[in-house]
């Protein structure tokens, strides 16, 4: 309007016109300035949030300056509830939810979870489904493509279809969904979690598909790792013989999950014949980033006969990346029919690891090679068909639409075969136009994993526990169990292909049906043990069984140290109590170091060491092999070992194809048993090295490295300083929302598996007496709001090896000092 006024002003108005012109200019300038300021303060630039919005006390981050207990509303109306639901919050902000029926229970679970963890809830499903580019922009495109090409959405759809076959479950899933959405709808802009304000976006409605995506996220984290293509590369580069030496199917002297005494003769075997085939021999340059190899866990349970109190006791601690908000959210969920307590996964219904009046259960990852690769030979560059037993079989094309914040949408065509998605092809780390590598993964199978947890929540005895597990497909888990009746058990449950020996250990030929998975191991022949004579069951991601188990078992990543420390602990005396369990979860004994350091020390030629080196070596000599926070020996050992490992496998670094390197265990086995093996020679030096020279040189380098590190950081050599454990916020460990330099010992491979940013993400101990006596803790807090006192309040106690008592309420009207406030959720009128 202003512009028009200036433009059409008649020229003859001379004297006033200059004056008016100036006014108009001022007006225009101030208008533009105002618009500019508005735009500038309302818009996100790069990583800088929209400052006006963000700093405004009526909608910005100041609104997140709240602790839940100070602002909770006593009564909340939630549409869809059938009856009132009572929620008591204890001093750790753990909600104790009492509903009259399951639908109300899970609706309330959705609502309350969202209330404390909305941003995380949604962010994890975006990460799972490959939608991070929508939030963070083009930096995430390759990640998102990877998620799509893994078939994360495909697997979630398959799971959802299976769940939809069970109308009772669908009702619950939808109630959970509606509970989350009721919370989202209740939010004002100011009440949004602060991460939305930093990144400047809004939550979208929750869907049942998102629950399936969350479960896929876990499946990928725990069963998404394989090294089949790397194995193929290795054999092609170095030959089968050295491969078999460095990567044996079974490690020597291990203590499997299922006790070796277990007799399998009652199994009615379904055998598969190995066909007369050779694996294809390709070089695969690059593979996708894999889940953290340290993802694992400990669990164990003792029978009444092994318990001081005569009650069975069970423990579990899943090892995952240490994040804020924590991956776990602790709840008590009760109806008149059941009363369950434990750790939930925001996004999934029910308790995942927990207990009720009658039973307790926990999980560790049952690593198994459940992801295989098939080489696909396309008919032509159109990739509309691929060869299969002398025929051309049609492919299906899925066009993945990846929306990118601030940029145009990226489209990625993913070809599907009957095996699964062709993850690697000409546009993605592949080998040309006519070749692809298709993934066959149990993660994609239709499944109803959610049902297993709902059933476990209400199970009262061994039979109901065993029945609940039957639905569980992937990721295969070691389900530890104890009941008040006195049973203990451990089932290794998952849908596991019945493979012929070595099937799927390498790339297979997708054009030949003889490479296909023929069947699955019958569910009732999965390895399990009930009430073993030794009086305890345990698992720590080691070999599920010894070689006597009649089905082929392979994985590259079996754990080799924690399992033996745990089992030796339970063999060390007659009876155990809760204190013993706490001690074991906090045990810092480094078996790996204890198995190699004596050999290393024996071989050291100390005459040529400098005074400084000699002093470091004697620190190691005096070390008791515990990675305690004050131990300097632990720091020296870890650096020494890192250097030794790298030096030992110098052939396997900087190759131009994807490669896997031997496990620590096999490396040490070889160093000790074949110290003169030709692979110990370092390529870069003219001399011929053996294990002895490697020990010496890697020690020297370690002393050098540590000296440099110390002068750079000014820190002590204490293990706590050298390790620097941190719990990082989910947004790339935003320092403002993360916690650093936590005083905790341990390391990967140690029962207290806390390494730099990975470790026990939930510790639980449950004694099943007349009333369950339970303890738990995790490195985080119940609130996802960094402005809440409950955001990270458990971290220090977790680091110190302490627990919070899990206050098991028997009914909603039980009076208690533990309750700090309560909410009544009532049906909306």
């Amino acid at each position: 309007m202003a512009i028009l006024l200036i433009g059409f002003r008649p020229l003859y108005l001379k004297s006033t016109s200059i004056h008016y012109f100036m006014k108009s200019v001022k007006f225009l300038v101030s208008l533009l300035f105002t618009l500019g300021i508005f735009y500038g303060l309302n818009t996100k630039f790069g990583d800088i949030p929209p400052m006006g919005k963000f700093l405004s006390p009526n909608q910005g981050f100041w609104k997140n300056e709240v602790t839940e207990s100070d602002v909770a509303k006593e009564t909340l109306e939630i549409s869809g509830l059938k009856s009132p639901v009572t929620v008591h919050y204890d001093e750790s902000l753990i909600p104790h939810v009492f509903a009259q029926n399951d639908e109300d229970l899970y609706r309330a679970q959705g609502y309350i979870t969202a209330q404390h963890r909305l941003w995380q809830l949604e962010f994890q499903t975006f990460a799972s489904g490959g939608r991070l580019s929508e939030i963070v922009g083009e930096a995430a495109i390759e990640y998102d493509r990877g998620q799509r090409r893994k078939g994360m959405g495909f697997g979630a759809d398959n799971a959802l279809k299976e769940m939809m076959k069970h109308p009772e479950e669908v009702k619950l899933l939808e109630a959970y969904r509606d509970g989350i959405n009721a919370y989202i709808e209740s939010l004002s802009v100011g009440e949004l979690p602060v991460e939305y304000k930093i990144l400047d976006y809004q939550p979208e409605p929750w869907t049942t598909k998102k629950t399936a995506l969350l479960l896929m996220y876990m499946t990928d984290m725990l069963a998404g790792r394989d090294v089949d293509l790397e194995n193929t590369n290795f054999v092609k580069l170095f030959g089968q013989e050295i491969f078999d030496l460095l990567f044996p199917n079974f490690y020597a002297d291990q203590d499997p999950v299922i006790p070796q005494e277990r007799d399998w003769s009652s199994f009615d075997l379904e055998t598969v014949e190995k066909p007369d085939v050779d694996f294809p021999s390709d070089f695969i340059k690059e593979t996708m980033d894999k889940p953290n190899p340290h993802n694992g866990s400990n669990n164990w349970a003792i029978a009444p006969s092994k318990s001081v109190s005569g009650n069975p006791i069970l423990a579990n601690d899943p090892h995952l990346q240490l994040n804020l908000p924590s991956i776990w959210y602790v709840m008590q969920l009760a109806t008149p029919e059941k009363n369950t307590f434990g750790a939930t996964l925001p996004g999934a219904m029910g308790i995942i690891i927990g207990f009720n009046q009658n039973i307790a259960w926990g999980v560790t990852n049952a690593t198994r090679d459940v992801k295989d690769w098939y080489k696909i030979e396309f008919q032509d560059e159109n990739r509309k068909a691929y060869k299969y037993d002398n025929e051309w079989k049609a492919t299906t094309e899925v066009i993945e639409e990846i929306k990118v914040r601030g940029k145009s949408t990226v489209y990625d065509t993913v070809t599907y075969t009957h095996y699964g998605p062709v993850t690697y092809d000409h546009t993605f780390k592949g080998n040309g136009e006519k070749v692809g590598y298709a993934m066959k993964w149990t993660g994609h199978l239709p499944n109803n994993n959610q049902q297993t947890f709902l059933d476990l929540n209400k199970a009262t005895n061994y039979a109901e526990y065993a029945a609940a597990l039957k639905h569980f497909t992937a990721p295969a888990q070691n389900f530890v169990f104890a009941s008040r009746e006195g049973d203990i058990a451990l089932w290794i449950q998952g849908e596991l292909a019945n493979k012929w020996p070595e099937q799927g250990k390498f790339l297979m030929d997708g054009s030949d049906s003889r490479y296909e998975w023929q069947s699955f191991i019958p569910q009732n022949q999965n390895a399990y043990v009930k009430n073993p004579e030794r009086g305890f069951v345990s698992s720590a991601n080691q070999h599920p069984t010894d070689e006597k188990y009649p089905y082929y078992v392979y994985d590259d990543g079996y754990e080799t140290y924690r399992n033996r420390v745990i089992n030796n602990f339970f063999r060390s005396k007659e009876k155990f109590n809760i204190q013993d369990f706490k001690d074991l979860q906090a045990d810092n004994f480094n078996l790996k170091a204890a198995e190699l350091i004596p050999t290393m020390l024996d071989s050291m030629d100390r005459s040529s060491l400098t005074a400084h080196e000699e002093q470091m070596l004697s620190t190691i000599e005096d070390w008791d092999f515990n990675n305690n926070i004050d131990a300097e020996g632990a720091s020296i050992w870890e650096k020494w070992w890192d250097n030794l490992y790298r030096m030992t496998w110098d052939e396997l670094y900087n190759l131009d194809v994807a490669i896997n390197r031997p496990s620590d265990y096999q490396t040490i086995w070889l160093l000790k048993n074949q110290p003169n093996h030709p692979w110990f020679d370092r390529k870069e030096t003219p001399e011929i090295e053996t294990a002895k020279e490697l020990y010496f040189q890697s020690f020297r380098d370690a002393v050098q490295d540590l000296t440099v590190w110390q002068s750079r950081t000014g820190k002590s050599l204490k293990w706590v300083d050298y390790k620097g454990t941190f719990v990082g916020h989910l947004l790339q460990a935003l320092p403002a929302f993360s916690r650093f330099n936590l005083p905790i010992g341990g390391n990967s491979g140690i029962v207290n598996a806390t390494s730099e940013n990975h470790g026990p993400s939930w510790r639980m101990i449950v004694e099943l007496g007349n009333e369950p006596n339970a303890l738990g803790i995790y490195p985080g807090g119940q609130s996802g709001n960094p402005g809440s006192k409950f955001y990270d309040n458990m971290i220090d106690r977790w680091a110190a090896g302490e627990y919070i008592p899990l206050f098991f309420m028997k009914s909603a009207d039980q009076a208690s000092d533990h309750i700090i406030f309560s909410q009544n959720l009532s049906p909306a009128k």
């Binding site: 202003a2 004056h19 008016y20 006014k23 108009s24 001022k26 007006f27 101030s30 208008l31 300035f33 105002t34 300021i37 508005f38 303060l41 309302n42 400052m51 006006g52 919005k53 700093l55 405004s56 006390p57 009526n58 909608q59 910005g60 981050f61 100041w62 609104k63 997140n64 300056e65 709240v66 602790t67 100070d70 802009v189 602060v194 930093i198 935003l734 320092p735 403002a736 929302f737 709001n785 960094p786 402005g787 809440s788 006192k789 955001y791």
Partner: protein, 118 residues
Amino acid sequence: MKTFINIILTVLIAFILGLFLPWWSVMIAGFIMGAVVGLKKASSFFVPFLAIALLWIVNAWFLAQPNDFTMTKKIAVLLPLEGNTFLLFLITGIIGGIAAGVAGVFGNQCKQLIAGKK
């Protein structure tokens, strides 16, 4: 005295608008002061500026203080102000103040333009 009353008036208008409008309600408040109430020259900037700076800082203080500045300390690291919460309050005030002040000047210019047309 008049300035003081105008500041209070701006705070009141901004506060009421803020109950149902987003953050830019302070710009509307500034605009109203410039256009309707009729602030002169420099005061058309400084009255809204001071008023909103004051409003935002006091408002933020009342949100943060009872919670022991838990979030404030973290945002003062995020932004990055090396943890200086005093600076965070100051910047909050300045940002709010500038937004309102600029709108105040614009309001004033509008008023002048309309008045000039007569």
